[in-house]
Assembly symmetry: C2
Amino acid sequence: MEDRILLAHGDGGLLTHQLISELFLKYFRDETLKSLGDSAILPSLGEQLAFTTDSFVVQPPFFPGGDIGKLSICGTVNDLAVSGARPLYLSAGFILEEGLLLGDLEKLVASMAQTAQEAGVRLVAGDTKVVERGHGDKIFVTTSGVGQLVGRGLGTGQIRPGDLVLLNGPIGDHGMAVLSQRHGLEFEAQIRSDCAPLNGLTVPLLSRFATLRFMRDPTRGGLATTIKEIATASGRDILLLEKEIPVRQEVRWAAELLGLDPLYLANEGKVVIIVAPEEAAEVLNFLRGHPLGGMAAIIGRVLESGEEGIINIDRRREGRPHSPRGGQVYLETPLGARRLLDLLAGEQMPRIC
Amino acid sequence: MEDRILLAHGDGGLLTHQLISELFLKYFRDETLKSLGDSAILPSLGEQLAFTTDSFVVQPPFFPGGDIGKLSICGTVNDLAVSGARPLYLSAGFILEEGLLLGDLEKLVASMAQTAQEAGVRLVAGDTKVVERGHGDKIFVTTSGVGQLVGRGLGTGQIRPGDLVLLNGPIGDHGMAVLSQRHGLEFEAQIRSDCAPLNGLTVPLLSRFATLRFMRDPTRGGLATTIKEIATASGRDILLLEKEIPVRQEVRWAAELLGLDPLYLANEGKVVIIVAPEEAAEVLNFLRGHPLGGMAAIIGRVLESGEEGIINIDRRREGRPHSPRGGQVYLETPLGARRLLDLLAGEQMPRIC
């Protein structure tokens, strides 16, 4: 086998078959995958299914704490996990650029296989295409996943006023790790991506806590965008307490240096959990006892209808009429002032996942 | 909205949300998709599942008879269909290049939506990423699909000596249409891709014919590669009759002109069907009565163990020892000579799907 990806690795012929049998199947040892059928044939799932997809284009493909392979498994596992499902089966579609080092591909595939094993999911289907040099960027991976719903299902429709908003740990690690690596920035303490499969944390949550309302992983767009999405979808106003939101000191410093807001930095091992107030303390305890939740915190609250997110502001002067349907996110600063948070707009931090 | 894709369309913020709500959801009107959850939540499927994925990088994205959007739906629908499943749910991951015309994206998305509707499948999950200009190639699409197995399932393990090999129509249309478009070749009769969803053809086959053994769509690598894969996986020798393999005259001429073999050209609306001899005539009749099978033919036969694929050849001189396990493909030319067919090797025709 050549030491770089050639166009012929993508033509469906001999080199494609060699790549599959000598590299992919060396690490992805699933019996269903090995049969190389047009589809993976899987047993019937008695419960409702969760089905999701995510494309990964992160640049650079290797970064502190992870790589595009690990990320591509975690991202899809986490989308299933936060949807209230037990992730079971994954597929991977590779778009490789001519000239990619086979050694790099092998490292990424090994990383995917190891992460899939850690997450307890099976990679059962795949596809590989090759594009000419200069028409891709080393490697893009699109993973899709199928999971089985655990319990009754979650949804923004279940969110009630008074519910509390929890987070399993500090924000911004992934985004800052990738940005630092891309721009060759070095900080005293190395910032590592938080990239991790969350199903080990979320599946037990689903069975233990009856008032779990909703979960979402704050990836692209960061925590602020995710909370805004939840507020919009539920029609509820949400108040976040800035001083409760965990941010590592080194991430805070790096973000300040670069003029970035950690609230909008991507995370790949974090989950926002909305739960009724009566179970919130127990959920927090559970999170703090879990390897992925040591720095968990209650970071906010769903406001009562009519409860004022911002007091003493002339709304007309602010130019943003208060929606009677709700859907606003307020951030209370450590000094007690409140400001509106919105979706990420205009800042360009692409290729982060 | 700008008239071109910007990096900010991929940052997960405001422009990403606009792109989703104003373009994708305009065409993909599925209720589950509209809920924009982290996963699509789907009803339990009582039967075994089929699950598959395929990345599409075809260049150019628009070609006679189709486009990358239509192709991305057909390709995954067909992988499910030939696996013996009823295709039900699709996901789509888009990797867009900065600068892509929004008008082109809209055409492709409309084409996907229309093809999905024709195929009777629901697009329930999606993702969009944007890469910098020069790091992608306008648009790559990765679709994944979930289907429900119909009947007892198919497999190369069911193939028996004496089984017949059928094909639903002429080969090479897709590969030649894309190549012609890419290189600006004009032929007297325009060659159009055969790109079509095959489930309308395969699902009835599955319930009607008890001796259906195996199906596969001869895409990348063409008919020859697909038959070789079937021979290898089943451990059976297969004989193809060249004069029975339908090829349109214009494709034959164009291929001759370009020095290409139609046997290795990609197809996107063809299926190889292996069935017991006693049902072959009935299957052929059924195919010929179907809009996607008017030119169907019996093109070959699975050889008996010990039956000689090639007679009067000194195997040692040929340098390719006869495997006692079988797995060879023989092509009988119109003059009665037989030659071995192998996987596509070395010819470079990438970006065809």
